[in-house]
Amino acid sequence: MSVDTATVAKIASLARIKLGAAEVEAMVPELNGILAWVEQLGEVDVTGVEPMTAVIPNTLRLRDDVIDADPLTGGGIRDKVLANAPAAEHGFYGVPKVIE
């Protein structure tokens, strides 16, 4: 599979990265080079092989349903979550007006 300018433009838009026409153009051969190379994986016979789900065989731990048990993962820290915000007002984050 190889990509063309339209595909690269579509991917860039999905990834929310603004690319000019020239950048899209330049990216096409680069991505195609990488894709052609990774496609050698298609040679590998994976019949009956499960995709890896956990690199070290392990299952999910479940935590108890306790509020703010650990301050590092609890709430009630509005100042901290807003501290680095490019725009924050009245306790909210601000973004350009969205029309739904």
Binding site: L14, D64, T73, G74, G75, V81, H90, I99
Partner: protein
Amino acid sequence: MSDSTYRIQGATGEWEVVIGLEVHAQVTSNSKLFSGAATQFGAEPNAQVSLVDAAMPGMLPVLNKECIRQAVRTGMAIDAQINTWSRFDRKNYFYADLPQGYQISQLYHPLVGEGSLTVDADEKAGIPEAKVIGIERIHVEQDAGKLMHDQHPTMSYVDLNRSGVALMEIVSRPDMRSPAEAGAYVAKLRQILRYVGSCDGNMDQGSMRCDVNVSVRKPGDEFGTRTETKNVNSVRFVMATIEHEASRQVDVLESGGKIVQETRLFDPTTGTTRSMRSKEDAHDYRYFPDPDLLPLVLDGAFLEDCRNSLPELPDAKRARYEGELGLSAYNAAVLTADVETARWFELLLGETATAQGKQPADVAKQAANWLISELFGALNKLGKDLETSPVSPSAGAELLALVGKGTISGSIAKQVLEKMLETGDGAAAIVEREGLKQESDTGAIEAKVDDILAANADKVEQYRGGKEALFGFFVGQTMKAMQGKANPQVVNEILKVKLG
């Protein structure tokens, strides 16, 4: 399975509507699905947001056990397959209410698989027969935050309090064929969730929201292209959405147009749906397993605990009320409609049986009738419900015991209830204070009966001449003379003897 005969009359003939619902139900839990922040409704903006919920660099999710337990119990309540191996996937898209840039959800291996629920027959609503609605899956996922558009002229405000709250997405099969069926499905689902305790069902607080998938077709044709109307938050609006969307689609198709698969929004003020601009983007969510989380494997003990903690579910309870307690179908349905009503009734029933030294089945009708025809009406007048009722189940049982033992009559009981609601005092105290005790002394009643028969000799003549309907007149007169306190049974007996 019987399909409803709901049809839309178009210019080209009849159309059938096909409906599938995705219900997002907020899981009842103290803390969020993957963080320790609180989930309570109505907090100050961003007050219940952790570093994890705000997707700060390097933050990681850790799964809340209670959310999984509640989703599994819900699955068990709809007889669904519980998948002991499931995992979480990322659904990638950009929006200001989605801090991670992805929602942690379950696409490939959901926690709960195939199940179903039964929508009851409701002739009046246009559901001629009970119908089984398939449920494809329940998966667990994160809720998004909230955007406020009307607080600032050029900005939208973002509140992440809901961000990361646990949701169950309950996905039905496209098995519904009328707005009534869809409405009944949502109501039934809400009823079950509230019984299980896995969701409070508060639709006006957003605890339950429906994505309504609607398509139309000529009866017997293949499924048509569907639209999805997002986040509809009441049973009534679900039905309105379907009605509007179905007729809109018929109009489009009949005028030669095509239905575009798209996301729409319901506007409650106009009762119409419109295309959602913010979701115009091509849907390519790039789902893949969340590498921050491992497979979720449930063991037998966990499942056993989930199953053992399931309450009696509404259908079973209703059947038991009819069968074991001998209640009418109507009363059984009313009493089981909501888990709180059933709970209240069962407390009342237990106390009533104890107070009268009888088996529950022997006092069930008395308790049910009183609750439905007396207490509900009285509370309604006061603008209250069972939750805010000044009369407790045990106070009600005390009142019913006075009736059951013949201490007061049914009509006096009504007066006593009013006083109880007014003052909060107990039934026995009120009866004692107000002298409302029923007269069962045959001598006193006999004396009054004699007076009445003497004063109405003409009517006695007519009665004996065959006008038996006059019996009620004599009863009424006697009761009146006794100020309502005579035991009606004793009155009846004495009158029968005296009138011959």
